[in-house]
Every structure is written in C-alpha cells, then in structure tokens.
C-alpha cells in the first residue's frame, strides 16, 4: 500500500475529470428544453435562488433565440451565473422548486440552460454591462472569490473604482481552488474572472495576503471603504491521536492540489478513508477515486438522513464506487513508520437532536478498524478567527458579525460570504457580494439603483 502519483494515463485522467454536466450541444437541444418551461408567474425557482435570477425570463429569452438578453438577465442577478450553472446544488435550489416536480415530471434543466446562455456570452466576451462614469470613490476588496468579485462588479457598474487583494495567484476563490475538477475547469474559471473584470474599473492585486502583505489599517486609510470576502479556509481538525501521521491530509488542500497542479502530480493512496459527508467530502472522495485510488471509504458519524450533502452528490460518490460507512466516528489513526496504516472508528447510534436540529451521534462503544494508507479529513472548514480577532472585528467563533447593510463592527469595513456565514454555496456568496456593494454604495452616498434589469 502506498501513496503515489502518476497512477493513470493522460487519457484516463482526462476521461475521469471530464465535465459531469455537459452543456446542450446546440440551439435545437436547448430550445426543446427551454420550451418545456411553463413561464410561471412569481416563479418558485426565482424564490429558491439566493441571487433571485429571473429564471422564467431568461428561459423565455432562449426560446426566442434572444441569447444576449438571456445572458444579461442571468448576469444582472448573478455575475457568476456561468460558474453557478456548473457548481450550484440545483436539486435543492431552483430545480428543486420547479413546479414540474409537483407533476411528478422531470424539472426544467435550469442549470444547463443557464450554462447554455452564459457560455455563449462569456466565449463571445459580450459586453453586456456598461460602467457608469467614475465617481472618484475607491473601495478595497479582500478576496477575489465569488463574494469579492460580485461586490466588485456591482461597485464598478456604479462608477466606484475597485482594487481587489487576492492571496492566490488566480481569481475565483473557491470556484477556482475548492471545487471538484469535473464540475468546472481552471480554463473556465479564468475566463469567468476575465469576463467579470472586462467591465473595467476593477484591478486585482494577486499574491497579497491580509495580515501579511497588507493590513486592514492600510486599506482603511487608502480607500473610502473596505469589503472583506476572505472566505473560510482552515480545515477543522479531528483532534484524535495520529492526526500528524504522514498520509493524513485535509480535503481542502487535497482539492486545492488537484485544482492547481496537474492531475498526475497529486498523490493518492491505494485505500483512502474520507471523513465527513458534506459537499467537500464528496468532492474529495470522488476525486481520490478518479485519481486512481483502488478503494475509497467515506466515514460519517450520523446517517443519510442527517448528511449535509445532497442525494445527487451522494449518488455521485456511489456511482464512483466509493464505499460508505454510516454511524462511525474516527477515534484514532495509527501508523507504521510514521505513515498511516489504520483508521479506528467508534460505532455510533443516534440520540437527541442537537443545536443543528439533527439527531446527534452517541458512541455505541464498538470499534471498527479500516486498513488505509491515506485519510482525508473533510470535517468542515473554519473561519480565519485569528485574523478577525487581531483586527478587532466583532465575531462569533471567527465568523464576522455584520449588520443589515453588511457592515462589520468597524465603520467603513464591510464583509460577506463564507467569512460571515461560515461556509455556504457559491451562489450565496455572490448574493452576499451584491448586498455588500449595496451597503457600501449607501455608505459612500452613491445613491444609484444597484441592481436593475435595464439593458
């Protein structure tokens, strides 16, 4: 048993990481699906989208071959509509609310239609938005992820000059570094960021880390307002013996490596255990399998009823051949020669509901042992608590507190996205960015209507 890279041929890597949601090949295919849409009034799909995309409108626009209008409708509400069409868990958002579900019919393929329009718009670099003349106001944004870029785009549209500070060498945040590679390609992430920036008035300074290269105080003194979209990034520790052994990695860095290196560069074990059952756990497990691991076992301390991932995601893992052990909590990792060899888990039973409303797992007293050579921890992500504390921003367990205008406890400093909500979907971060921009525009007295559907 060993952890190695170069497990597969280039063709095998390519096949394993090919797009799992292929787009409509052509207009005819998109039209057939678009024409199924009933064009609901006050549609449930809109209400179920955190960014409130006018779904019936953009689908109607596809049916009339008004693809520009369709893309404009999407991007007006969600400037990352292209990426979201690939990564959104639509089964619990728009498509989950589609009235066709109530007819026991397949819901409209909203994401795929959204991808159809936005792909065309992005590939043609359609300039669908025009920036208002500069107001002379300057805003610094920390983090070029979905929240930061969404905030930057709205601000720029209203004539605010934006500088984004990004600790990585590419924009896109979680979209670029934290999502399974078979959902969205690095090439697309780059195109998407470029498309967002094409409105002008937004500069990104890469490899700039808050608290290292730049300080909040500097930003406050150099800009009229600051928006923090720094996300979450620290992997939650299991706090069990053996966590320091070679072969124990966290899912975030595992996925980061897959996204930022060639597939063949990423090492994976023969027998891998993945701890957790959230979206990140699924992304880690499926990709470990696709990198060539012989056996991947997901370990979750509760049952399917409590799992955070969607059924669609679970099915993805199952179809990839991942095994699942429910009601098992990691207790200890043991190794040989400093290298992981076994994962010991306590079997659990479900007790009373906990703070999350889910029945909490209780140790049933038995132990099961898995022979593994790699353990991937996906037990959740934590906010950058030390960073927040050192800047004297009010917070709760590292999640920044914000008011109704997205303002933090420091006047002129706003925040949103995962660093405030603790980690939600990309689409939630996009909305947070819009909300933050609205708060900043109010603060700067740039009293323009922020979100309009005028073209």
């Amino acid at each position: 048993m060993s952890i190695t890279n170069f497990r597969l041929t280039t063709d095998e890597y390519d096949a394993n990481f090919a797009d799992i949601h292929p787009p409509f090949e052509n207009l005819a295919a998109a039209l057939v699906e678009a024409n199924r849409c009933l064009f609901c009034y006050d549609a449930p799909c809109i209400k179920s989208c955190p960014t409130s995309i006018d779904v019936p409108k953009f689908i109607k626009q596809i049916t009339t071959e008004n693809i520009k209008g369709s893309a404009h409708t999407i991007f007006s509400s969600n400037i990352m509509g292209g990426g979201c069409s690939r990564v959104c868990p639509v089964e619990k958002l728009c498509e989950g609310a589609c009235v066709y579900n109530l007819l026991e019919e397949k819901p409209i393929e909203i994401a795929r239609l959204q991808r159809y329009s936005t792909d065309i718009a992005i590939s043609h670099k359609w300039p669908l938005f025009k920036r208002k003349p500069s107001t002379g106001k300057r805003v610094a944004i920390v983090g070029a992820g979905p929240a930061g870029l969404s905030c930057a785009h709205v601000l720029s549209r209203e004539g605010v000059d934006v500088t984004v500070y990004e600790k990585e060498s590419k924009g896109g945040g979680l979209m670029t570094y934290g999502i399974a590679a078979y959902k969205v390609t690095p090439a697309f992430c780059e195109e998407e960021v470029d498309y967002i920036l094409s409105i002008g008035g937004i500069e990104i300074k890469y490899n700039q880390t808050l608290g290292e290269n730049i300080s909040l105080a500097e930003l406050q003194s150099n800009y009229d307002a600051v928006y923090l979209g720094i996300g979450v990034g620290l992997a939650r520790q299991l706090n069990i013996p053996g966590e320091e052994l070679e072969g124990v990695v966290d899912a975030i860095s595992f996925i980061y490596d897959i996204r930022s290196k060639g597939f063949n560069q990423v090492k994976v074990g023969d027998r891998v255990a993945v701890i957790g059952m959230g979206m990140t756990a699924i992304d880690a497990a499926t990709q470990a399998k696709r990198l060539g691991a012989k056996e991947v076992t997901m370990v979750y301390r509760r049952t399917e009823a409590e799992m955070p991932c969607t059924t669609v995601e679970l099915d993805l893992a199952k179809l990839d051949g991942c095994k699942i052990i429910w009601l098992a909590a990691p207790k200890e990792i043991t190794g040989e020669n400093d290298h992981v060899s076994q994962l010991h888990c306590s079997t659990m039973v479900l007790g009373e509901p906990d703070a999350s409303g889910r029945r909490s797992p209780i140790d049933a007293g038995e132990t099961i042992v898995l022979n593994v050579d790699m353990v991937i921890k996906a037990a959740g992500q934590m906010p950058f608590e030390a960073l927040v504390t050192s800047n004297n921003i009010d917070h709760q367990y590292g999640k920044m507190w914000v008011d109704a205008n997205s303002g933090t406890s420091i006047p002129g400093v706003f925040a949103g996205g995962d660093c405030v909500n603790g980690g939600k979907e990309v689409v939630d971060a996009v909305q947070a960015g819009k909300d933050g921009a609205k708060g900043i525009l109010n603060y700067l007295n740039v009293n323009q209507p922020v979100i309009t559907n005028q073209y």
Binding site: L31, N35, L38, Y41, D42, A43, P44, C45, T63, L102
Partner: protein
C-alpha cells in the same frame, strides 16, 4: 369493428381519408406508395397546361419548438407532361381498383379548353373530377385558380361548361381567399356541381429571414405570396366548412373537408361539421404516408366507443350546435374552480386573469409556492384560466345558472333587463 368505408357520390373508398391534390399526388410512384400505405383515395395533382416551377417552393411556420405548424407553397399545378400524367392515372387505376381516384383540373377560361380537358380526364376511367378554383398564386395572374373561385359568376360559368359533358361526379374546390365561401359555393351548386370541397390554401407570407431580410421562401433573393395550409389553418377551414354546411342550398351536396387535417380527431371534427370525407396533405408531407394507419384505427375505435356503425351515423352531427351569438343562453353562467390538490402553483391562471381578464383570482403569497383561489363573485366564466392552466382538469368550470329559463340576447333586450356593470 365499425365500418369506416366511405361512399362519396358513388365514389367508394375503404376509408374516408383521401390525399388532397398536391405534391404527394402528382405522380404514379407517390400514389402507389400512398395506396400501399392504406390511403382511401387521392385527388391527383391539378392537371392543365404544363407549367414550370421555381425553387425553393415551400416555407413553414414553427411554433414553440414544434416544426411546421403552418405550411406555405408557391408551387403551381403539375409541371409534368399531361400525357404522362394521364397514362400513369390509368395504370394506377388498374393496380388499385378499390381506391378512389379523382383528378384535379384547371383550364384556361374558355369553354373549349374545359371541355377538352374534362374529356381527356374522363377517358382515363378516373372516378371523379375536382375543379381547382382555388390555387392562390401563379395561376391567378392568368385568370385561373383563385381568380375563378373569387368571382361567383365566373365559377358558375365554368361549372356549367364542365357539367355539359361530365359523365363522372364533379367536385368544385373552393378558395378561402374570399370574405365568404358561400357565394361561390352557391353559384357552383346552382350550376350543377355534384359536390364541394374546401378549403384550398390561404394567401400568406409565412415569415422573413432576419439575416437576409428576404421573405420565405427565398427564390434568388425574392419571394412571392404563397398558399398557407397545415394545422394553423384548421380553425379557419372548419368555420368555412360550417357556413357551407349551414346554407340550405350548398348543404344539399356532399362536402369534402380540407384544411390542416393531421389526425383522425381532426377528421372527425370536419365530418361532425358536415364533411363526408376529408383530404389531407401537409401532415403527409411532414410525416409521410404512414400517418393514415393511426387515422384509420383511431377513427374506428372512436366510432366503436360512441356506438357509430357507419360514417353516416355522425357526419354533420355538430352542425345544429352552431348557432348565432344572439341565440345563446345568457342565463347560463359558469365560474372557475381550482383543484388545490392538482395545482402546481405556476401562477399562469393568476397572471392571465390579473393582467388581461377580470382580476378574479386571489394570490396568497408563499415561499416558494403561492396559493391561488377563485374569487367567484368576480369570475365571469370566460375560460381563460382553464385554457392557460398546464395541468389537465386542475381548473374546471362549475355551472352556476343565473336563472332557470333559457334567455337569449334578443329577449333580454325586449324585456328591458338591466345590463351588468362590468
């Protein structure tokens, strides 16, 4: 099994489905294929003085992702030599003696021409003739086709000429490019035609190419008005058929129904409104001759279910149900009802009623699903909500008569009853 065999003026066919005079019936090869597929009869594409056609000739109207809802052509009468057509007709008659074979014809406006052409047709042994008074393009400029059908007196004259020597049944095919088809129908019947058929195609422009700006169909950068047909024209054809079926003179002759018939259900509708048989073209051009299989079976099962043994049991059955507006019962009143168990909360009924009707639907906001209920006191029973609802039998119209007695508008006025306020 019911008996779906047809007898139209003594022209017998195993079913009432004939192919209309058009491209599918312009040569032996196609007609043989049609008969092999099961069509009851054909009206051979119009013969006359040989013409030359252009390309392209067809264009179509697509709707909501569905192709060829409406169809359009600028093709003329047969562009094949008359002799070959006549020879092929004889050959087909030999091969399929049990099917109806009627020849469409069109001559220039002289008695001699019509006599000569009629004689040649009869010599083939065909079962009947159909006078083309309807071709809306190309031939009209020469004083033929629709130019004849649009003038009852010219139509009367031509029919008289033909009837002078006709020895087989004569059907006169009417053009819809008139205010009313009745005058020409009437003149033709008075002149002795044995039957009528309708409708021919409706003059149209189907659309314009938004890249080239040339209307369809494009003939080297130009276009011309064409004849419109297909499913889109069915309601117009039914209305025109009804006026012929209602007129006490024209209804004395059998009618062959034409215009957007694609299925057995369409055919039954035409027959319920007075057509003795039907002629089909566009649907066959879209799907091929095989559609006749379902047409025959569907008609048969429907007749069985309804207890009809022969076609005559239901032909014309719906004609009496068509009356004038002023004879309709004003005391009849319905209101909409939404079955909440079936409702999928799409809100289409609400927005249609709110924006364009009588604001009779209440919205109870919910996330993500709103609840919609009918405000009965506001509902005028217009049907709109039921029509736009995507769920079968979710919205139904419930009868709530205003009074026991039948009361029509004429009596309403005579009695000086109060008008309502909306």
């Amino acid at each position: 099994m019911a008996d779906i065999s047809s007898n139209f003026l003594g022209i017998k066919s195993p079913n009432p489905f004939w192919l209309a005079s058009a491209p599918p019936t312009d040569k032996k090869l196609n007609v043989l294929r049609a008969f092999e597929a099961g069509w009851g009869g054909v009206v051979w594409k119009t013969l006359g003085t040989q013409v030359k056609n252009v390309s392209s000739r067809y264009s179509a109207v697509d709707y909501h992702g569905s192709r060829v809802m409406g169809f359009n052509n600028i093709e003329l009468i047969s562009d094949r030599p008359l002799d070959i057509n006549l020879r092929e007709i004889k050959e087909v008659l030999k091969e399929f003696p049990d099917r109806a074979l009627v020849i469409s014809l069109m001559a220039d406006n002289s008695r001699e021409s019509w006599h000569e052409l009629t004689k040649k047709m009869q010599d083939t042994g065909a079962h009947g003739l159909e006078l083309n008074f309807g071709c809306p393009h190309g031939m009209t400029e020469r004083g033929m086709g629709a130019a004849v059908g649009q003038d009852p007196e010219i139509a009367r004259m031509v029919v008289e000429w033909v009837m002078e020597i006709a020895e087989i049944p004569v059907i006169t095919k009417l053009t819809p490019n008139v205010h009313s088809v009745v005058p020409t129908g009437l003149a033709s019947v008075q002149a002795g035609t044995n039957a009528l058929s309708l409708i021919n195609t409706i003059q149209s422009v189907t659309g314009i190419d938004l890249d080239t700006f040339v209307p369809n169909p494009n003939v080297a950068g130009k276009s011309a008005f064409g004849g419109y047909c297909g499913p889109a024209v069915k309601p117009i054809a039914l209305k025109m058929l009804a006026t012929i079926a209602q007129n006490e003179t024209t209804r004395r002759v059998p009618i062959s129904g034409i215009g957007g018939i694609s299925t057995w259900k369409d055919a039954v509708e035409f027959m319920l409104l007075g057509a003795s048989n039907v002629q089909v073209c566009t649907a066959a051009m879209k799907h091929g001759f095989r559609i006749v299989e379902d047409m025959c079976e569907g008609l048969n099962y429907w007749m069985e279910d309804k207890g009809f043994k022969t076609l005559d049991d239901f032909i014309g059955k719906s004609v009496p149900a068509l009356t004038n507006w002023e004879d309709l019962d004003i005391n009849y009143h319905i209101v909409a009802n939404i079955n909440q168990d079936k409702c999928i909360h799409c809100g289409l009924c609400y927005i249609a009623c709110e924006d364009t009707s009588h604001q009779s639907i209440a919205l109870d906001y919910g996330k993500p699903y709103n609840k919609y209920t009918i405000k009965e006191e506001e509902c005028v029973g217009c049907n709109l909500c039921k029509l736009v609802c995507p769920v079968d039998r979710c919205i139904t119209m419930v009868e709530q008569r205003k009074g026991d007695e039948y009361l029509n508008w004429k009596d309403f006025q005579r009695l000086g009853l109060p008008l309502n306020d909306h």
